[in-house]
């Protein structure tokens, strides 16, 4: 989603440097924001962990380099957009073209709220393809969704609903396990709770907003994660931004993956600790920074750090990569750091029991100091949790901002999590949960393998249900999104600034509820559109994993 304003020129400059780097496989780029795992882009394994056990052998992750020609063309494309944008801005300034953007009225004596150049990107690039985002949905976010058709009579400045409804396959929602449902036993339980409790709580946990349903949820989450205790918060974003400040403070160091989610960045910032970023999933870089931090202490004073917190995500939602968790834990032990693991996209979706990346690697959840995750994705609900040792959770219950200053979870939302979690754990007496988990794993392998065979550049791990397909050029972003929708498939496309400028991509989120027929149809649509847009950029041999080793449950 294009969330950026302005400063496009600088970004262009920066990325020109990037493209040069991309051509030199081993050159590293240290800038935290744009610097993007250049170098380690060969198809296949890229760590240097020879002594490690089996996990590394089975860890397949691919980040193919941007082909040179494509990169040049992409920059030319942006160049053109900028030039035209400048010309049109000029025309708007002189009144030759009517300015349709909702501009700020001049208020005598007030400093303007925005600078005109700040919104250059929004006005001249994002606006043209605005219809690809914020589409209006009129149904549950299941495998098929109803999209309310919109029309713009002024090239993207405003939209109007036409009243037409499109029923399309959904490859955009984070409904990994397929529990976003409006019928069935989970939904019935939610209805019963709504009728018993109502929807509101109107109080924070410490101020008489703590209800029996919250207690039940906390206990269940702790059991599910395999940790001593857990707390829950009504919003995943706030779980990070409101709890991290209770863990570290000034005098502590946060080592953060450069591609961490905005909520983690905000939480880190609010904590007052010093933040250093390391290259995405690059364990050598992490070790170097850890070693450096422990040896040199705090800047200037050289006093030792109070604590060092490594902040990582389980599955990265824009890259489809999986954290090299065993390595992180090895480093954590060696350097006595603490680990904060955000499992927003991996809880439920990864591992043989759906318990996230920890389960996927077969590790002990107690080795991770802070287990965080959200209920927005696999559980088809809303909110987030933090799990860990009893003393951590007790500390958070007394000190976390989310327990003191904000409302606690709405009962029906909590019940949805409880019901779904019980299904996943098999506590409902069926094997539905297992079935969903296996199906998702199978779907993931099947879909990824087919896409790679067809020669698209696909990022990420073979087991990650987030599947990014690289589009590169800004014009293709819009085209891909519109054409797939026309053919009956809703997809997410992501561009600058959520990704580096040239690495715009489409993203498919797989779901356990997708059937094989749906996947096949989706592949057909992608092929259609892919040929239209010439998306088969890959020059590497397709990888040799397959879905065959995953046993489906009938």
């Amino acid at each position: 989603m294009a969330t950026g304003r302005g400063s496009i020129n600088r970004k262009l400059e920066d990325n020109k440097k990037d493209v040069l780097c991309t051509q030199m496989p081993e050159s590293h780029n240290n800038r935290p924001k744009n610097g993007h795992k250049n170098g380690l882009r060969s198809n296949g394994k890229n760590g240097s962990h020879t002594s490690q056990s089996r996990w590394d052998e089975d860890f397949f992750e691919s980040f193919e380099e941007t082909p040179l020609l494509v990169a040049i063309l992409t920059y030319l494309g942006y160049g053109l957009l900028v030039v035209i944008g400048q010309i049109r801005d000029l025309m708007r300034a002189y009144g030759i073209e009517k300015d349709k953007s909702c501009t700020e009225p001049k208020l005598e004596g007030f400093v303007p709220l925005y600078q005109s150049w700040e919104s250059f990107y929004t006005r001249n690039v994002y606006r043209r393809i605005r219809d690809c985002w914020n589409r209006v949905v009129g149904s549950k976010p299941g495998t098929r969704i109803t999209i309310l058709d919109r029309d713009s009579c002024d090239y993207g400045w405003t939209f109007e609903l036409t009243g037409k409804k499109l029923n399309v396959m959904n490859f955009g929602s984070y409904n990994y396990l397929g529990f976003a449902e409006n019928s069935g036993p989970c939904c019935d339980q939610v209805q019963a709770v709504t009728e018993k409790y109502g929807v509101g709580v109107c109080a924070s946990r410490q101020e008489m907003g703590y209800m029996d349903i919250h207690r039940e949820l906390d206990l269940l989450v702790a059991e599910f994660l395999g940790v001593e205790a857990a707390i829950t918060v009504p919003m995943g974003f706030a779980t990070n931004s409101m709890n991290m400040p209770a863990l570290v403070s000034k005098g502590s160091l946060i080592l953060s993956d450069e591609l961490n989610h905005a909520s983690l960045v905000l939480g880190s910032r609010l904590s007052g600790a010093l933040i250093r970023t390391y290259k995405h999933n690059d364990m050598d870089d992490l070790e170097m920074k850890l070693r450096d931090a422990v040896c040199n202490g705090q800047p200037r004073t050289h006093r030792p750090w109070k604590k060092i917190l490594i902040v990582v995500e389980g599955v990265y939602s824009m890259e489809g990569s999986i954290i090299r968790l065993p390595d992180v834990l090895r480093l954590k032990k060696k350097y006595k750091a603490y680990v904060y693991l955000d499992e927003a996209h991996s809880i439920g979706a990864m591992g043989p029991h759906g318990r996230g990346v920890v389960d996927y690697f077969g590790l002990d959840p107690r080795d991770i100091d802070i287990m965080m995750g959200t209920f927005t994705k696999s559980f088809g609900s809303a909110g987030g949790y933090i799990g860990g040792s009893k003393s951590l959770i007790n500390h958070l219950r007394t000190q976390a901002h989310s327990f003191i200053y904000s409302t606690s979870m709405s009962p029906p939302v909590a019940q949805q999590v409880i019901s779904v979690m019980k299904v996943i754990m098999g506590k409902d007496g069926t094997n539905q949960g297992m079935k969903h988990i296996r199906q998702l794993a199978w779907n993931t392998r099947y879909f990824r393998k087919r896409l790679q065979d067809r020669g698209y550049i696909i990022y990420g791990n073979k087991d990650s249900p987030v599947v990014p397909l690289l589009l590169y050029m800004p014009s293709k972003v819009a085209m891909f999104s519109r054409e797939t929708l026309k053919r009956g498939m809703a997809t997410v496309v992501v561009g600058f600034p959520a990704t580096p400028l040239i690495e715009t991509r489409a993203r498919f989120c797989l779901s356990a509820a997708h059937t094989k027929e749906m996947l096949d149809e989706a592949l057909k649509i992608i092929d259609d559109v892919g040929d239209l847009l010439r998306l088969r950029y890959s020059s590497l041999k397709p990888p040799d994993f397959s879905e065959k080793d995953i046993q489906l449950i009938e």
Binding site: G200, V201, M211, V413, P497
Partner: protein, 500 residues
């Protein structure tokens, strides 16, 4: 989606370069060359210490971090009181705690929307269409038609051009402030603003100037001071945005902000006003449109109003409303809006229904005001209690008239009051704070919230229980032979439990 654009610094830079005179540039270049020279010559100095790998290993071996968290025992008073008073079933006007039914004077269920049948039906209907979660942020198929409907309804209700919906009230103002105010800008904020605002202020990295609570003279003096500084540096002043951030009804004090004066100052000193109406939305004004309606001030005077759907509306979520050119900006820059899943549709649907009820039954607000004033009147003169808050405010703080020097001690006293009242069937709560993080920590208090459906008997009961509780507890505390104050509290506590 891990990218937060940091554009402001760039702008400063460009401005700086464009405005610098030529000799300045020459001078700077010379300076840079000099620094470079010093740097290069220094790197040859022999003293630079380089650690060998072995030494580094030793250092790594030696370093011992602090524990992640202090060890908080299970019987910490806060955890204890939370567990002790865990609510069974609905959190409505009456609540059940430990099998006992209590009048609820502690939650922000001002107009009794919790458990409203009409709202529940609407929520269930939405549940049967959309499921519970939206499974995506607004940008990626998380925009349901109910979200748009709610935004429309809110905008219409507040007669503003546009409204934007957040999935959590805390994230609303905390995201809105940094979307507009950047590094280098100046924010004038009331010292008693709520915690969410405080976090928003920190996240904005702007320069914060605190003025004393509701003290317009102090604010004006700060504004004049700023004006003088601006005259000295007009170039900087031309790009420095200025904001006043206030709450409509202060959660921390139960007081209403002097909006007419604020608006006057806004136009006089050219500052924008951000108004946080979490507590006043659906409470103040003839029809619940907040503090602007209360003072009969046109909402066009306010640049941004942020409200909460978690208090009188009894759902979960928040919103901002104002002019389109202001609000739309957040759709791309509000962190909590862009980077988080949208509000569960069934909660949006219940908020829509609650708004309808509010519009259909203005009686609710008349009742609420009446009850607030009644309670205020009755508690005003009770011994041992210092009553804080405006008479028509549904939030009132009860502080001790003779606080001890030790905060913990007062806290303990109040906890005993809460225990006593709970036992008598009135649910109260202490206003909780993070002592070390609050900008301006107020003395410990019990925070009372008034519900519009309280009957006269219930009000009488509440008042008598509260005055009894304070009297009994304080008597008990003073009657115990005081060796060490904390000792006595523990003893007192024990005795009281025994006496029940």
């Amino acid at each position: 989606m891990a990218y937060i654009p940091a554009t402001w610094d760039m702008y400063d830079l460009i401005q700086g370069v464009l405005q610098a005179p030529w000799y300045h540039m020459v001078f700077e270049v010379a300076l840079i060359l000099l620094i470079f020279k010093i740097y290069v010559s220094q790197s040859f100095s022999p003293e630079k210490t380089v650690l060998t790998e072995k030494e580094k290993d030793l250092l790594v071996e030696e370093w011992q971090p602090e524990p992640l968290t202090p060890n908080v025992p299970d019987d910490h008073p806060i955890i204890q009181s939370m567990e002790k008073y865990c609510i069974e079933g609905q959190n409505g006007k009456y609540i059940t705690v430990n099998g006992k039914s209590c009048i609820n004077m502690s939650t922000f269920n001002f107009i009794s929307m919790v458990g409203n049948k009409q709202i529940q039906d609407r929520a269930v209907k939405a549940l049967r269409v959309y499921g519970v979660g939206s499974c995506g942020p607004r940008g990626f198929y998380g925009t349901m038609d109910v979200h748009l409907e709610l935004e429309d309804e809110l905008a219409k209700f507040m007669t503003s051009e546009e409204a934007i919906l957040y999935s959590y009230s805390f994230a609303t103002i905390a995201s809105a402030i940094p979307a507009y105010s950047k590094r280098g800008d100046i924010i004038f904020a009331d010292e008693n603003v709520g915690f969410a605002i405080q976090k928003g202020l920190i996240a904005s990295r702007s320069h914060i100037k605190w003025f004393r609570h509701n003290d317009m003279e102090h604010l004006e003096s700060l504004l004049i001071e700023q004006n003088k500084a601006d005259k000295k540096n007009p170039k900087k002043a031309k790009v420095t945005r200025r904001f006043i951030v206030v709450e409509g009804l202060y959660l921390n004090t139960g007081k209403i902000c002097p909006l007419p004066k604020l608006v006057e100052l806004k136009w006089k000193y050219k500052v924008r006003i951000f108004l946080e109406e979490s507590m006043s939305f659906g409470v103040l004004g003839e029809t619940g449109r907040g503090v602007t309606e209360h003072f009969d001030i046109s909402r066009d005077n306010i640049d941004l109003i942020a409200g909460s759907l978690e208090n009188s509306i009894a759902s979960v979520g928040g919103f901002c409303c104002g002019k389109k050119f202001v609000i739309d900006h957040q759709r791309l820059s509000g962190l909590g809006y862009c980077f988080s899943a949208s509000q569960p549709p069934m909660l949006a649907a219940s908020a829509i229904e609650a708004l309808h009820i509010l519009q259909e039954q203005p009686r609710l607000l008349v009742d609420l005001r009446e009850k607030c004033e009644k309670i205020h009147d009755k508690l005003k003169n009770v011994t041992h209690i210092q009553l804080i808050g405006d008479p028509i405010s549904p939030i009132k703080h009860l502080m001790l008239t003779e606080p001890a020097s030790d905060r913990d001690l007062d806290m303990h006293t109040l906890e005993m009051v809460v225990d006593y009242a709970m036992n008598e069937g009135v649910a109260l709560t202490i206003a909780r704070h993070l002592d070390s993080e609050e900008n301006n920590l107020l003395p410990p208090s019990i925070r009372l919230s008034v519900n519009c459906e309280l009957t006269d008997e219930e009000i009488n009961k509440v008042v008598s229980v509260i005055s009894d509780a304070f009297r009994e507890v304080l008597q008990k505390l003073s009657s115990v032979d005081m060796k060490s104050p904390l000792d006595s509290v523990k003893q007192g506590d024990g005795e009281q439990i025994a006496s029940r």
